[in-house]
Amino acid sequence: MLTAASLSRAPGIATRRATVRPATVVAYLAAILIVGITVVPLLFVLIGGFRTTAQVNAAPVGWPSPWVADNYTAILGAPAFWEFLWNSMVIAVIATGLAVALGSMAGFALSRYRFRGREALYGVFTIGLLFPLGVASLPLYLLLRQVGLLENPLGVALPEAAFSLPVTILILRPFMLAIPQEVEDAAVLDGASRLGFFWRILLPLSMPALSTVTVLAFVTSWNAYLLPLLVFNDQSHFTLPLGVATFQSQYSQDTARILAFTTLSMVPALAVFVLAERRIVGGLSGSVKG
């Protein structure tokens, strides 16, 4: 069959790779512009950590003069930082794991099964998206107190997972719906059960969407502030966002140290993104209709 691939390998025929198309040039220019606008504030956070607060206050955007490693070293050397990191990690892993696991199961049920009340149930899950989290925090706090989950990582992880379910299901369901019935029928013919189809075929095929919701759930949990604030009074239970308070007093804040702290806090979440991103883009994709 004549395909583009075979064409490009045929001798004597100019391939796309030999000419620089104007569209590519435009693409690179646009990329540079986007990077410029996006990256300046980010650089400010990263490099701001290498200045002193006095420097930052004198000139908010500028190069460190001199470069000061003290903020980063002091934070990395403080046991409290690693404690915050650990707490954040535990909660985020539990919340993300629960949200993605339960969400994909529910998404599967809501997409590949037909039953009465399916759309209504889907609507019920969507409700969680429509209500501002902050307001639900007050009754949520009272509930957690009654169930004895205060000062407990589960007291944060469980509600976070619950509140991530709507977005997870919202994103997963259309992806799961898009997988053609033929694939499922073929699996059934091969003797797989419905659940087997789910586990062995559907999930791998949904990898881009799964990776996306994993990243979203993780980042949401990682940056969550209000719920941990209400649940934890003891500083040893604090997560990273709460840890910023250690650099703020009633009348002032150590800006440079906060910038360093924020940069370091971002690293694990960005790492999760890098890991997941390969799955989003480089995963088993495009082969659905093979």
């Binding site: 006095a54 509930l143 650099f247 703020q248 009348y251």
Partner: protein, 420 residues
């Protein structure tokens, strides 16, 4: 569907299961909430706790530092539960009055009667209906911090004593190319300082007290305060874009501007030098700072000796161990007060500690506070929280050009009767 019914049963069961009490007060175990999340205050309070424990080994104090802004979220929730902290920080006035409604705040009147008198007028802000429900540990007073070098540049030899002098000085500063006054309007509460001060200059102390108690600002003097503020705004004393300037964050804040010599004055509390220290590389800035009280107004019915201020304090809860009031006495004792004053944490409420104030300007502020005929708590604290916040918002809108002097005064009455 069956699964939904099952869920409902489980949830109901969970809710009904009244979980056991989380922690008893215990004899001698005191949980302490304060806002010292960072040093020097964090270490200072820890050493205070250690010092008390050394003297009273049967009392263990465990500290939970809470970020300042989060107190208004966490305290109401804690007071609803069966196990609030034994000792927590609060700011007196109407906020305290609301907290008392929870029934969990300890009445300290009898336990502190022996020594509360030494604190002078400061303690009045923590009384509700004549009963002492909290005790201050430091005092704050609001006045004008100014740059002596910039005043010199504009050839102003003495700080203004009356409003008329103040207006003259504004003109002189403008003529010398200096921004006269910096203000952090974005945060709203700095605007309230001006309105509150005009109010106590135009209204007699009795009228102020009665109006706050009745939660209605009906006396015409309250409208005069708004008119005074209009007159001030008309002279354009503030920096460009002041509506978006924060009060304390970054060198572009109003505090930062004065710290870096970009503005000549700011109406702020005694914490100002501490805030400024972090906002400038100029190690010498403190020596360039001076302080003068809010100018008087000719013909104003207010007592010119009245000062606007507030403070920080602590309250004990009903679940605290019996040693809690004694710990308060320790905090207000000369030893701890001296430590606080030396560390620059506000003005001490115990006059014996005054000598520890290192900065001569702060000593000047402290002496002024002791001589004041009456310290009026900032109105947004003196009034109940919802009314006070509504007033602050009205003032901020007024400064931004929305509303009238009459509507600002009317806000209090409306908010108090449940208008939202």
């Amino acid at each position: 569907m069956r699964s939904i019914r099952l869920c409902a049963v489980v949830i109901a069961a969970l809710l009904v299961a009244a979980c056991g009490s989380s922690g008893t007060a215990g004899s001698g175990a005191l949980t302490w909430w304060h806002n010292g999340t960072s040093d020097p205050l964090k270490s200072l309070w820890q050493s205070v706790a250690d010092g008390y424990h050394a003297a009273h080994p049967d009392v263990t104090i465990s500290i939970d530092p809470i970020q300042n802004e989060q107190f208004q979220t966490k305290v109401p929730l804690a007071l609803q539960s069966d196990s609030p902290p034994g000792l927590y920080q609060q700011w007196g006035g109407g906020g305290e009055a609301s907290q008392i409604k929870s029934g969990k705040v300890l009445d300290l009147t009898s336990s502190v009667s022996s020594w509360i008198g030494t604190l002078g007028k400061a303690a009045e802000g923590w009384q509700v209906d004549g009963k002492q429900y909290g005790v201050p540990f430091d005092l704050h007073v609001v006045g004008f911090w100014y740059r002596k070098d910039l005043f010199g540049k504009a050839q102003i030899t003495t700080p203004p004593a009356t409003m008329a002098d103040f207006y003259t000085d504004i003109d002189k500063l403008r003529a010398a190319g200096v921004t006269p006054v910096a203000i952090g309007s974005k945060d709203r509460w700095p605007d309230a300082f001006y309105w509150d001060y005009f109010a106590v200059r135009e209204c007699s102390t009795d009228v102020v007290k009665q109006s706050i108690k009745a939660q209605k600002l009906e006396d015409p003097c309250w409208r005069k305060a708004g008119d005074d503020l209009t007159a001030l705004l008309a002279r354009k004393p503030f920096q460009d874009g002041f509506l978006g300037t924060p009060a304390q964050q970054g060198a572009g804040s109003s505090a930062g501007m004065v710290a870096n010599g970009q503005a000549a004055m700011e109406l702020q509390g005694d914490w100002e030098p501490g805030t400024m220290a972090a906002l400038t590389e100029d190690k010498d800035f403190a020596s360039k700072l001076g302080w003068f009280p809010f100018p008087t107004i000719e013909g104003g019915a207010g007592d010119p000796g009245v000062t606007l201020g507030g403070g920080d304090g602590f309250s004990c809860t009903t679940v605290a161990p019996p040693s809690c009031p004694d710990f308060l006495k320790y905090i207000d004792g000369a030893e701890v007060q001296t430590k606080l004053a030396a560390a620059g944490i506000g003005l001490p409420v115990n006059p014996d500690a005054a000598g520890a104030l290192k900065d001569p300007t702060l000593r000047q502020v402290f002496d002024f506070s002791r001589k004041a005929t009456y310290i009026q708590t900032y109105l947004d604290i003196a009034l109940p929280t919802n009314v006070g916040q509504a007033l602050d918002d009205a003032i901020a809108n007024f400064v931004a050009g929305k509303g009238t002097a009459a509507s600002v005064a009317a806000t209090v009455g409306q908010a108090a009767t449940g208008d939202k």
